[in-house]
């Protein structure tokens, strides 16, 4: 597979970024909801949040790379059979998905670092705290993190339904193209 995108097809980098971000998003959503209800004595009580935070940091980096890569290597043009409303709504959905995921990952970072603690990523490296306004920051960032997590999952589900509709009803190459074909 080609590395860069061309007007017809996605390249390897865009495909890998897309599917790893998708996988991380759904995994972190499930892990996040599951881990906050764990009993204190559960073996995952400490491992769960560490995993969630570490993957979250990588998700953020992947998002930044995806946004930069889009400018460096523009995605293929829309298929000819796509209707105007489909192009419009998919564009809005793509922008919203990126914005929501950025705000969610940043708000997660702001919870952990609200009282100046660094965010340790699997013990490999740490992100230092920047904005540390204390308890009110942790609570507000926590509320934003949870509400927008639900919003992004709903939007991602709509986005996936759109892809399935193109594949099964319109029988076009939209979904296959996202696999690099």
């Amino acid at each position: 597979m080609r590395i860069k995108n061309n007007p017809e097809k996605f390249g390897l980098i865009a495909v890998v970024l897309h599917w790893s971000i998708a996988l991380a998003t759904f995994f972190l959503f499930g892990l996040g909801l599951w881990m906050i209800d764990l009993a204190y004595y559960d073996t995952w009580y400490q491992k769960g949040p560490r995993l969630h935070e570490g993957i979250g940091v990588f998700l953020f980096f992947f998002l930044v790379i995806r946004i930069l890569w889009r400018h460096f290597s523009p995605p293929p043009t829309a298929l000819k059979n796509h209707k105007k409303w489909e192009k419009m709504s998919s564009k809005v959905a793509h922008i919203m998905l990126n914005i929501l995921l950025l705000v969610i990952t940043i708000s997660g970072y702001l919870i952990v670092t609200a009282e100046s603690d660094a965010l340790s990523v699997f013990g490999w490296f740490s992100l230092p705290a920047t904005l540390s306004k204390g308890a009110s920051q942790a609570d507000l960032a926590g509320d934003v993190h949870l509400v927008l997590a639900w919003a992004v999952i709903v939007l991602a589900a709509v986005h996936a339904l759109g892809a399935i509709k193109h594949h099964l009803i319109d029988k076009d190459r939209t979904l296959k193209r996202m696999l690099g074909q």
């Binding site: 952990v112 603690d117 609570d139």
Partner: protein
């Protein structure tokens, strides 16, 4: 009738005048942070975890000639809980524990004050946490009193008590085992005479 009323009012005014002449009113030295409300709870049954409330106000009155008339009132901002761990503190503020959005204040209002000698005090009062009020006993002691170097007059007490948060509706306590069921409070209160 009018005369009786006037007499009554005059009498009441007299009583209050006498009382206020003797009882000394103190306000906790919050500005100088010379008052502390700390807590400790066992972690896993292996060690003590310490925390404190950073924001609270309070006052007490104390009359050396009539100590049993002393009163103590404290109002704690539950949002200010601080156990030196951002995620634990956030969890403690959540509705599973202190539910600070619903119950931003916890209060203690004394109901009796008994000196038992050697500066020891049995202080009883209504403690309100998460909207639940129970009468608790604080084992207190008089630490000292006198002029401060800055022209004021101060008096300080120290006290300890314990309570079970589950009895005040802190549902998250269910997730902790019996070792952590009881929270011990330590109060160090310095007041400035008004």
């Amino acid at each position: 009738m009018k005369k009786i009323l006037i007499l009554l009012v005059a009498g009441l005014m007299n009583i209050t005048a006498i009382n206020s002449a003797q009882a000394e009113d103190y306000i906790l030295d919050i500005e100088g942070a010379h008052a502390f409300i700390n807590f400790k709870v066992k972690h896993l049954g292996y060690s003590w975890l310490y925390g404190r409330f950073n924001t609270f106000t309070g006052k007490f009155s104390y009359d050396e000639l009539n100590p049993s008339a002393a009163t103590v009132e404290i109002e704690i901002d539950t949002n200010s809980i601080d156990s030196n761990h951002v995620k634990r503190d956030k969890h403690l503020r959540d509705d599973e524990f202190l539910d600070v959005k619903e119950f931003p204040k916890s209060t203690f209002v004394s109901t009796s004050f008994n000196e038992t000698g050697d500066g020891k005090i049995i202080l009883k009062g209504d403690f309100t946490l998460n909207g639940v009020t129970k009468n608790i006993t604080i084992n207190a002691e008089h630490i000292g009193h006198g002029d401060d170097p800055w022209g004021g007059y101060r008096r300080g007490f120290y006290g300890t008590t314990s309570f079970k948060p589950a009895e005040y509706g802190l549902g998250g306590m269910d997730k902790l085992n019996a070792d952590s069921a009881e929270v011990f409070l330590e109060l160090s209160l310095e007041g400035i005479r008004q």
